[in-house]
């Protein structure tokens, strides 16, 4: 609670979603430590004991680890439970982060991921006793290929960014096999930061291309830039503005005529699943983020999984191994892939994430289309109801997300970050701020299909209330949020003199 503000200033009447609850004070676990306490006991050793010195010799034996915690089980439970109450989460409410697709994470997915036999499976156990795991991977592959309309897949990449790199490596290997890997990859200025970063690791140069006045890829500009040294265009579709690239087929054609390929960043697949298939509109290679469209939990930053789907021409270059079904119906890992780009991660990738994504897909079946429709319905509803209060820099029809700007509020000195922080007081996680880069003061809102009309209405009401506060009480933004455990934190100090660990 910010001491400078009174209760009424900090919490307007319009805050219907959030109340106050007791938040426990809690230090670091290291500060609770006392010699001799422990929170876990081991079964007694049933073989002769050894001493570190005898077994390892003086060179290798380690003494006690200085500062390592010594706490009891109840202290561990309370410590982490208290910390957990300082977090916002999907389980608490709407998380309208644009491009992040924060949807409900079904609990049954957590349950099945922990089943004995799956959670306990070792990646090197023989295929004859790993059939269940291999089939899960194979079944998910089939589902993802059906949804994307592509021909072949690898589920090895550990996250979207690694999927991007994998796709780019395959493009390189394919073009190399045609005689020339080429030099550049084109990236629209509205793209995610991982795109250019992945391009560099794949050994390509980044060539940024402008969006046109409608926020779409400028096909004239593309014709000009897609010269012989261009390997591919990486496009996010729908774009980070939440808008479908209407000329996607023409874009693919321009690239293909010049021997280049079309890479689609599938981060926004939540707008397309069940409605249209990238394989049908000219995409050669794409990745999916299973922690977005396929509901696997973000867990405070990860894990994810970034499967890559390709057209037939790229299949020989998939990372090894891939999961195949043999003629006898049994599943196996195929390592014999002479043209493979190699391995991008040890073992079979984030299997536990793949398994959850399959559970999600099975829950919907063909009904996944309804999820997409609801996600698009929510975004358009919010757009329509907030158009009167916020500036809409690009007015093309939205799919799953809508991007406003802070242009109107800025006249009163209130910017997108201020509005985001104030939204916290209203009981919501902020939307994505300051992205995409082509929108100054961007406010990128993606409600997902998981929000009820009631939750959307609460959000709309909060945004309207904030818009009028920007007119009448702009000072309140400078100290927001007011209802959280800590106020705005000094990020400059954190970076200038980094304290990155506890010390006794």
């Amino acid at each position: 609670m910010n001491p400078k503000l009174t209760e009424t200033e900090a919490l307007p009447v319009a805050i219907r979603k959030a109340g106050r609850h007791v938040s426990q004070t809690e230090g670091l676990i290291f500060e609770k430590s006392a010699p001799g306490k422990r929170g876990m006991e081991l079964p007694p050793l049933d073989v002769p004991a050894v001493s570190a010195e005898t077994a390892l010799g003086r060179d290798f034996a380690r003494g006690a680890i200085e500062g390592f915690p010594e706490v009891s089980e109840i202290e561990v439970i309370r410590h982490f439970t208290r910390l957990s109450t300082w977090n916002y989460a999907i389980d608490l409410g709407m998380y309208p982060l644009g491009s992040c697709t924060m949807k409900y994470n079904p609990r049954v997915n957590e349950y099945v991921s922990r089943l004995d036999g799956l959670a306990s499976a070792h990646p090197w156990q023989p295929a004859e006793v790993a059939q269940g795991c291999l089939r899960i991977i194979h079944d998910l592959q089939k589902c993802l290929l059906a949804i994307t309309g592509m021909d072949a897949a690898t589920l090895q990449p550990a996250a979207g960014a690694q999927g991007e790199l994998t796709g780019l490596l395959m493009i390189r290997a394919y073009l190399q096999s045609q005689g020339n890997p080429r030099k550049k990859v084109l990236i629209p200025d509205s793209s995610h930061g991982t795109n250019p970063a992945s391009v560099v690791i794949a050994g390509y140069e980044v060539q940024n291309i402008r969006s046109n006045a409608r926020g779409q890829i400028d096909t004239d500009h593309l014709r000009e830039f897609a010269a012989g040294d261009v390997a591919a265009l990486m496009v996010t579709n729908p774009s980070t503005l939440g808008v479908f690239e209407e000329r996607i087929a023409e874009i693919a054609e321009i690239l293909h005529e010049r021997g280049a390929l079309l890479y689609m960043d599938g981060a926004n697949m939540n707008a397309l699943a069940g409605i249209t298939r990238p394989g049908d509109f000219g995409v050669d290679v794409m990745h999916l983020n299973l922690h977005k469209t396929f509901s696997t939990p973000h867990g405070g930053g990860g894990p994810g999984a970034g499967p890559v789907m390709v057209k037939k021409i790229l299949e020989p270059f998939l990372p090894a191994p891939i999961v195949v079904q043999k003629d006898d119906g049994k599943f196996a890992l195929d390592f014999n892939r002479p043209k493979s780009v190699g391995r991008v991660r040890a073992f079979c990738g984030n299997f536990g994430v793949l398994l959850r994504a399959l559970a999600y897909t099975l829950a919907y079946g063909p009904g996944i289309r309804q999820a997409t429709e609801d996600a698009v319905l929510n975004a358009n509803y919010i757009r329509r109801r907030l158009e009167d209060a916020f500036d809409l820099p690009y007015d093309l029809p939205s799919l799953h997300e809508v991007v406003f700007s802070d242009a109107r509020q800025k006249r009163n000195g209130v910017n997108t970050m201020d509005i985001a922080k104030r939204l916290i007081d209203y009981g919501f996680h902020p939307y994505t701020t300051a992205f995409p880069l082509i929108v100054p003061g961007a406010m990128m809102i993606e409600p997902t299909e998981s929000e009820s009309k009631e939750e959307c209405d609460l959000f709309i009401e909060a945004m309207h209330s904030i818009a009028s506060e920007a007119e009448t009480n702009p000072e309140i933004f400078k100290t927001a949020p007011h209802s959280t455990r800590v106020g705005r934190l000094d990020e400059v100090a954190a970076a200038r003199k980094p304290v990155l660990r506890w010390k006794p």
Partner: protein, 448 residues
């Protein structure tokens, strides 16, 4: 559909508010010829019970009730239900990357604790908030060494996990990074005679794993001396993190790339795990991955934020230290809770039990005629054993007795046929070790 919180009439109300007659109108920007007319050919929809049944069926098609002696980068260790209870709290499970610090102090505080624990364990000054896994952590550590030294070659021990080396090779290919592999000596250590000062002087780093793929502990201080005296870094990777409970940490290494799966994370057929990079303070701005740092709010209260983001892709785009965005935060939390439970004494005891069990197993196996350890170097919980018959043959016989036997080392090291890598952790009961030994004895006594 149970995940969708809208009634048909609410959908109609919302469409009316938008001014659309039907849902199709909202998709008009997608050219008609690309819009699907028919339903996707997907299995389902399945109810919760049916989903559970599907996965129970799959679980029954695995080695659920087998005893396994596999390690080689993925380890069976004790896990606590307490850790499970914590990580299944929705506030941790269903939260996003903690960019909005005021409502993410739970995650940020836990990451800060994770970074501290990893630094304490590895003997390094600073650790990041996680990488995908050990293989990618090692790869990124090597790229970091390339940036720091400006040298475009690395010397990598052949005793580094084969799949870690494969991942490194995939990344290195297009970055002008040459990899030279250094062979091992008869002891199972990296062959230091193959490391000439000239060779090191041309290299960004010497890369070793300890315990290495054969389970053997490398001499880190001596290797660091050799690397440093020729201006290279020492990069050390650790696949079996429980070893740090009793084995001297790689203090002299410049970058440590670790797999943290052993800290309470289920094997889960290879992932998700939790990689981590630890290093010296002076290299922190070349480190990839997120970092949580301590700071204060206007009222002077302690709080944590993601910091030094100018290294990262969302700020620096093509000039970032890495393309990593999503990491393995939830499993960093698993490792943190698990290590807090185990504590100083528990981790040490667990590590010592591993040594005791592995030594017992080796001693019992070595009583079988024709069976002996291949290498002489000190080891933690894994060791390579030579058999008088092929490992494949032994393993298929063991499988009939519901035992998953040693990993055939010859798969990755052709010169080491008839050798198997065994892992014995604290979870392995003595009677199962004895059952393995008896079975192998019987198999070897059976005429071919």
């Amino acid at each position: 559909m149970r995940y969708l919180p809208k009634s048909p009439s609410e959908r109609q109300e919302m469409l009316a508010a938008i001014g659309a007659d039907n849902i199709e109108e909202l998709f008009q920007t997608i050219p008609g010829k690309f819009r699907l007319r028919e339903k996707l050919p997907l299995p389902g929809p399945l109810s919760e019970m049916e989903i559970i049944d599907y996965f129970k069926d799959r679980a029954s098609e695995t080695a659920r009730d087998y005893t396994s002696f596999l390690g080689a980068g993925v380890y069976q260790h004790l896990r606590s239900v307490v850790t499970e209870a914590i990580v299944q709290r929705g506030e941790f499970l269903t939260s996003y990357t903690p960019y909005q610090a005021e409502i993410s102090q739970g995650t940020l505080t836990a990451i800060f604790e994770f970074q501290t624990l990893m630094a304490q364990l590895t003997g390094q000054e600073v650790a990041n908030a996680s990488m995908y896994d050990g293989s990618t952590a090692l790869t990124e550590a090597v790229l970091m060494a390339q940036r720091i030294t400006g040298r475009d070659k690395v010397l990598v021990a052949r005793t580094v996990h084969p799949e870690y080396r494969q991942v490194l090779a995939t990344y290195a290919k297009n970055l002008g990074l040459e990899i030279e592999e250094i062979n091992y000596a008869a002891s199972g250590h990296l062959d230091r005679d193959a490391l000439s000062p000239e060779k090191i002087a041309a290299s960004a780093a010497v890369v070793v794993q300890s315990p290495n793929f054969f389970g053997v502990l490398e001499h880190i201080p001596a290797l660091a001396d050799s690397a440093h005296s020729s201006g290279a870094l020492l990069v050390t990777t650790i696949a079996e993190a429980v070893s740090l409970g009793i084995v001297r940490p790689p203090i002299e290494a410049d970058i440590v790339a670790m797999e943290g799966q052993s800290f309470g994370v289920a094997p889960s057929y290879g992932g998700p795990f939790v990689g981590v990079i630890a290093t010296r303070d002076k290299f922190v701005r070349q480190m990839p991955g997120r970092l949580a740092g301590q700071t204060t709010d206007a009222a002077g209260q302690r709080g944590f934020v993601l910091t030094l983001a100018t290294r990262e892709q969302h700020i620096r785009r093509e000039k970032a230290t890495s393309n990593i965005c999503t990491n393995e935060a939830l499993f960093a939390l698993v490792a943190t809770v698990h290590l807090c439970l185990l504590g100083k004494e528990g981790l040490r005891e667990m590590a010592l039990q591993n040594i005791a069990k592995a030594q017992f197993a080796l001693a019992e196996l070595a009583k079988i005629p024709g069976v002996r350890r291949t290498f002489s170097g000190r080891f933690f919980n894994e060791f390579v054993v030579e058999f008088p018959r092929s490992v494949k043959l032994i393993n298929s016989a063991l499988l009939r007795e519901k035992i998953i036997g040693p990993l055939a080392v010859g798969m990755h090291y052709p010169e080491l046929s008839k050798r198997g890598l065994l892992c014995v952790t604290e979870t392995m009961p003595r009677r199962e070790i004895e059952r393995l030994v008896a079975a192998i004895r019987r198999i070897l006594e059976t005429p071919v």
